[in-house]
């Protein structure tokens, strides 16, 4: 295939989500008009601020980081024919696990009412502690994701129900341990003791001239980019990815091909959970530096929208995550600088995008008439 045909193929893939986004903005604009504001003003506040250097871009990428992870998580599960509604629970468990490891092995000593209290068993250097903490996040997320995978493979119970239920359990468990075991006495905020300083990962400002270090976009963003590349390689360039995609495309044919459908379900859910768990790296090691109860701004659920808009492809997920991150941050400016429109417009736009993507599946057929949307390999 020549470069041009490859490029055309990918442009076609982009076209459809783009139409959905534009349609959502048009309808959203009607809402804004109805409220009595100028859609142009509202949208320029919503989007325009994202491209300012350094704050706009820095914060957008920081906001995009967790959405890339959860978007990838949902996409991997979906490629296996599974709907992972449980990324939210998986990322909570993972964030708690990484915080716990970074605390226990980070040499944390806290001043409690004038007394030095240790929260650690030992002090590990950064070269060991950071990889260990990252591993803890991935492992905990993968474990929490593998549970509904196992339940489905073993008993046939539906993963949607089980992942939703496990979300409640995850959030409640983390809150319990925070409140009764790892909170510093006297702290009015529902958060754990801080993690060891050797577990902190650097903000990107440390490496990029002109980007102040106060902006929290950190090495987890680089990890997210690496994760995109690895997910792509995993799904399309390895035999494991072939097996997962075959299972998602047609479980009967996969079985015929000697693939254990049950194994693939558990594997896909574990990989999905592990990816969701990486949100903990961004939030705990890169930003809060502790487990902070209720830290997730629905990242797990927004991840479903990100995957849907991104057509369950790592490149699409990356682009969709950045778009949603722009909206997330732009909402603040809409709140502040328009007369009537509040930041809830963001929620409306997100919902509209999803509606148009979903409704559009029906109309892909008629667009095919123009040969614009022929199915490609990925």
């Amino acid at each position: 295939m020549s470069l041009v045909t490859v490029l055309m193929k990918h442009l076609r893939e982009l076209l459809f989500p783009l139409i959905a986004v534009i349609a959502a903005f048009v309808v959203g604009g009607i809402f804004v008009l109805a409220i009595g504001d100028s859609p142009i003003k509202a949208y320029s506040e919503l989007i325009g601020n994202a491209f300012a250097w350094p704050d706009g871009i820095g914060y957008t990428l920081f906001n995009a980081t967790p959405l890339i992870f959860t978007g990838l998580a949902v996409a991997v599960a979906f490629r296996c024919g599974l709907l992972n509604i449980g990324a939210e629970g998986q990322l909570y468990v993972a964030a708690f696990a990484t915080a716990w490891v970074s605390m226990k092995f980070g040499g944390v000593v806290v001043d409690v009412f004038g007394q030095k209290v240790s929260y650690s068993w030992m002090t590990l250097p950064a070269v060991i502690l950071v990889p260990l903490a990252i591993f803890a996040a991935i492992f905990a997320g993968a474990f929490w994701g593998a549970i509904p995978g196992f339940l489905k493979a073993r008993f046939g119970s539906h993963e949607v129900i089980n992942t939703i239920m496990l979300n409640f359990i995850a959030v409640a468990l983390c809150s319990y341990f925070t409140q009764y075991h790892y909170k510093v006495p006297g702290d009015p905020i529902m958060q754990s003791a801080p993690i060891g300083e050797s577990a902190h990962i650097a903000h990107l400002g440390k490496f990029i001239p002109g980007l102040p270090e106060r902006i929290p976009v950190n090495l987890a963003f680089i990890l997210a980019l690496i994760a995109c590349a690895l997910v792509y390689v995993f799904l399309w360039k390895t035999k494991w990815g072939y097996e997962i995609r075959a299972t998602g495309a047609n479980p009967s044919a996969a079985e015929y091909g000697g693939i254990s459908v049950r194994k693939q379900i558990v594997l896909a859910m574990a990989v999905s959970g592990g990816l969701a768990g990486m949100v903990g790296i961004n939030e705990v090691l890169g930003y809060h530096h502790r487990y902070y109860d209720g830290f997730s701004d629905n990242y797990g659920f927004t991840g479903i929208a990100v995957a849907l808009l991104g057509r369950n492809h790592p490149v699409g997920v990356l682009l969709a995550a950045i778009l949603f991150a722009i909206l997330l941050r732009g909402g603040i400016f809409v709140d502040a600088f328009t007369d009537h429109v509040s930041k809830d417009i963001v929620q409306i736009l997100q919902a509209l995008v999803i509606l148009f993507v979903a409704a559009g599946a029906r109309y892909r057929g008629s667009l095919n008439v123009f040969g614009l949307l022929k199915r490609s390999k990925v």
Binding site: N250, S252, K377
Partner: protein, 505 residues
């Protein structure tokens, strides 16, 4: 009576009907034959109002008529019976027949009146259908007669039947033809869409042959023969008989002893079956569909997620009763499944990816990192090999399998399995929904594989196919092998009797 004049219909890039002219005379049985995709179903769906033509006109009784919906067609006396029945299983015959044309006042449904009318119709054409029976208790043949009644109840004078014999046993086909002849006597006009030439010759008065969306022949059945029709359909001479030398059977490759396959509810789909297949022979399994053939072949291939297998299966002297599908494939057992869309293909995957299904974990599909990474060059080489050896068209490994015609999808699957150089081939319905040209090709390949020393176990619903290909023929009924016949000696009647549970004479 019914005439299509210059009908043209285009679906996207495909010209499904290109200036089609078909003239059906009143009181005749008229066959429309052609390969898959020749446009015969499209033409009839236009006549029934499912599609509107891009240009051209439809005449009924010599007058130009607008048929925009099936309702228009029914009002003009045109009825259609589809290949897949459209019946509500838990409801009675009468309820199904009145559906959409309920008698009585709007509020009260007068089923008794309908039932007596249906009984009268049934008697008139000797259909022997009880209006009060529920559909799910009826045989396939009876269900088809319910579909006929549905059209007759709506006063159809012209009946269009889409592949009506595909689901019937040989005996049922005979009964069905008798019904059609009675309908002709009563002045009805019948149009049959089919690709079975023997049936065309047996039942119809006139035949229209279609190829690539065009009418390529209009003949009186009495003036033609199977060879001529086949040549018109395919566009070249076709070998209708399978040419095969005498089998040289070698050692026993597969030995099945007292095999039982039970499904989740405990039903024994395969019940105490024993047989052998030797190298270099084709053993055929004949039977009405749903008598355990699917479960037999799938269990032998190791696809037992939905069932439990007991008994003993030996392959080349090795016990494989509880072996996984992958390990069986490694030993040299290839499998062409009966349903290529459900089992055989990943329709959204491209041809290259489909060509390695089942061997995707080993050479030549993988490379590097200890055999984790897929070897795209190796996969493409394999795909091109299959495409070349088995004449898969279009020959583009990047196309999704969905884009291929049924015949080419089947050639891809058969090629993939043959390329493994199997010692045993399990093959189910190798030519279902495949056009004549491809059937000839697949049959030749099967015989060549046999002659190369492979043991072949063949299941097919097409009696002609199993009798032509098999060296020995087993007949299966209710999960049991009820007889073995010599395909060279036997008759369709003998097999047909065994297939329906009759005893061998």
């Amino acid at each position: 009576m019914l005439e299509l004049r210059n009908i043209t219909k285009r679906f996207g890039d495909v010209l499904a009907n290109d200036h089609v002219n078909i003239k059906v005379k009143p009181g005749t049985i008229h066959s429309i034959v052609g390969e898959n995709g020749a446009g015969k179903s499209t033409a009839m769906r236009i006549a029934y109002g499912f599609y509107t033509p891009d240009s051209g006109e439809i005449l009924v009784d010599g007058e130009v008529r607008e048929i925009r919906t099936p309702h228009d067609a029914i009002a003009l006396g045109i009825g259609m019976v589809h290949q897949h029945f459209m019946l509500v299983e838990p409801m009675t015959v009468a309820e199904n027949i009145v559906l959409g044309a309920e008698p009585g006042t709007t509020a009260a449904l007068d089923l008794n009146k309908a039932a007596s009318e249906i009984r009268a119709l049934s008697d008139e054409f000797k259909l022997a259908v009880d209006p009060h029976a529920t559909i799910e208790t009826l045989s396939v043949g009876q269900q088809q007669r319910v579909e006929l009644l549905k059209a007759l109840y709506r006063h159809a004078r012209i009946l269009i039947l889409d592949e009506p014999t595909a689901v019937l046993t040989p005996q049922e086909v005979e009964e069905f033809f008798a019904i059609l002849r009675r309908m002709r006597e009563q002045g009805k006009t019948v149009v049959i869409i089919t690709h079975k030439l023997s049936e065309v010759l047996a039942i119809s008065d006139e035949v229209t042959v279609m190829r690539d969306g065009r009418v390529v022949g209009e003949l009186k059945t009495s003036d033609t023969n199977a060879a001529e029709l086949a040549r018109l359909m395919v566009g070249r001479d076709v070998l209708l008989r399978v040419e095969k030398p005498e089998a040289k059977a070698g050692e026993t490759v597969l030995r099945v002893q007292n095999m039982v396959v039970a499904v989740a509810d405990g039903t024994r789909r395969v019940n105490d079956v024993s047989f052998e297949v030797r190298a270099g022979e084709i053993v055929g399994v004949a039977g009405v569909e749903g008598n355990g053939q699917t479960e037999l072949i799938e269990s032998l291939a190791g696809l037992t997620a939905q069932s439990r297998v007991s008994g003993k299966v030996d392959f080349a002297g090795r016990d494989i009763t509880n072996m996984s599908a992958r390990d069986r494939k490694e030993l040299g057992i290839a499998h062409v499944p009966e349903d290529r869309h459900r089992r055989g293909l990943l329709l959204d995957f491209d041809l290259a990816e489909n060509s390695i299904l089942g061997i995707h974990y080993r050479q030549p599909a993988v490379t590097g990192l200890g055999g984790i990474l897929l070897d795209e060059k190796g996969i493409e080489r394999r795909a091109r090999q299959v495409i070349k050896d088995f004449d898969v068209r279009p020959p583009n490994p990047d196309l999704p399998a969905r884009a291929l015609s049924g015949g080419n999808q089947q050639k891809l699957i058969i090629g993939r399995e043959f390329e493994l150089n199997p010692k045993l081939l399990l093959v189910s319905q190798p030519t279902r929904g495949v056009d004549i040209g491809a059937i000839e090709f697949i049959h030749r390949k099967l015989v060549a594989l046999r002659d190369a020393g492979c043991a072949v176990l063949l299941v097919s619903a097409e009696l002609e196919e199993v009798t032509a290909l098999a060296d020995r023929l087993l007949v299966i009924y209710h999960g049991q092998i009820v007889g073995e016949v010599d395909p060279k000696q036997t008759s369709n009647e003998e097999i047909g009797l065994l297939m329906t549970g009759g005893k061998k004479q």
